[in-house]
Symmetry: C2
Subunit: 278 residues, 2 copies
């Protein structure tokens, strides 16, 4: 019989650990002096302790180990537990690897640029939302800006504030066309086919923006000319995290468009649908 300190030394664990296991009922000392409370362990208990440690090493929780020791678990149940654990570990392994790639790309960025920029790429999910929009093809940005402004103004005036949500521009350039194929409109708080007319006799069409479970996003000031930097940051993030682009990019204007319509101080969120790639 050993006192707790010696037994702890032999088994290479801490005394606190042994007391804790005693408390949980995982490993009771062979004898406890009822007067002094001293715990006495027999060397015969070493296999039991080792079994606990081995199961713990498999990633099982102490709560799970308790019933296991009492032989109250059938092999098939144990198999199920282990299979679940395996799935968890595989998942966390994937996440850790992504983190590792991510960190490495950041370190490389520091080495290249001497600082950090555009750290703020966030993975989020967005729900489906009703949409009121106009799709059009443009020759260049010179054409786009007036149209966005026109739709912003028309929407702000003709859609009630309770219904209107946010101005969104979607890049529909499926094929690598020279021209810009954009869909511009407002997301809505509830479905509606309100009639919104744009100067020039065209009207916004109702549709639904699909939900996207995984969206790599970044927020940038709308007036900032460095928008391509933001796009680059998202791209780098997607690559570093082992993802692939899985749909058309969206630009969401977070600030309500105010007069004068100059997007001053506005924030734009760039959203790229992604999926995990091998």
């Amino acid at each position: 019989m050993f006192r707790i300190g010696e037994f702890a030394q032999i088994a290479q664990v801490s005394g606190r650990q042994l007391r804790f296991y005693d408390q949980l009922g995982l490993l009771r000392p062979a004898h406890t002096d009822p007067e002094t409370g001293y715990r006495y362990y027999s060397i015969q208990q070493l296999p039991a302790l080792n079994r606990i440690l081995a199961l713990k090493d498999l990633g099982l929780s102490l709560d799970q180990i308790g019933p296991l020791l009492a032989n109250q678990i059938s092999p098939s149940e144990l198999r199920a537990m282990l299979t679940m654990k395996r799935a968890q570990i595989e998942q966390s392994l994937g996440e850790e690897q992504a983190r590792l790639r991510h960190i490495e790309s950041r370190i490389a960025q520091i080495d290249r640029q001497g600082g950090i920029e555009d750290y703020d790429v966030i993975l989020k999910s967005v729900p489906a939302t009703p949409f009121l929009s106009l799709r059009n093809s443009f020759d260049g940005m010179d054409e786009v800006v007036p149209m966005v402004r026109a739709i912003a103004e028309a929407g702000t005036r003709q859609i009630g504030p309770a219904l209107r949500d946010k101005l969104i521009v979607i890049a529909r350039n499926d094929v690598d066309d020279e021209r810009l194929d954009l869909e511009i409109g407002f997301s809505l708080t509830r479905p509606s086919n309100a009639n919104v007319r744009i100067a020039g006799s065209r009207a916004l069409q109702p549709s639904e923006l699909p939900a996207v479970p995984a969206m790599a996003t970044i927020v940038r000031p709308g007036t900032n000319a460095a928008s391509h930097t933001s796009f680059g940051a998202v791209g780098a993030w997607i690559e570093a995290n082992g993802c692939a682009i899985a749909g058309p990019c969206r630009e969401v204007f977070l600030e309500p468009i105010t007069d004068p319509p100059g997007f001053a101080g506005a924030l734009v969120e760039i959203q790229f649908p992604v999926r995990r790639a091998a």
Copy 2:
């Protein structure tokens, strides 16, 4: 300005999280009503929040993120932090992979044998210890058992209880010889060259057992005939954990050898020095 719930929805975080970050000083609301305590967030704070989330995603702790946001960290310090993080992640990645292999081997074992056995392989380190031993070559186990018994008896009688530690048998079979090359002796609590004679005019030689930082061990009853099962378990563990054997195997008799010398009820710990292999 949004109340906490709306801002939380926009940013896809929980209100509790925002309150927590406020409390830590990581992200103060743009305005707090001094009468009601209500927090009001501006959409302009979204980038700040996203930066926090992105840094958190890199694996940094909130304590580390605080100074980062205040721009009180130089790029080189940040680089050092990230490099450290990388090392940590690489390490934990390796451990997780080992766990995964381990679990898979256990699942395979259940599928093969319908149950679990020999779960209790433990990785521990052992310190260097003075040793008093005799090395000899044997033709077979029939020769070994009497010798072990003789040394056990001689040691028990001729080494004081304060000095004597445990009976250990080391397999010195460096080359795959037909014969058994064993070293049998007692570990000691302190160095000594006590003169211990074995029946037959031979004496134990003093030496030192080297420390082993990583030792795969298993404990089995000494009388159990299924010792090869234990060896097999250790071997399977070593393989599943991606290790390699890095030295001679030791068998440590944990129970003091009692009269009658029959090893009844004794426990033997089998120890294999290992190192992490690729």
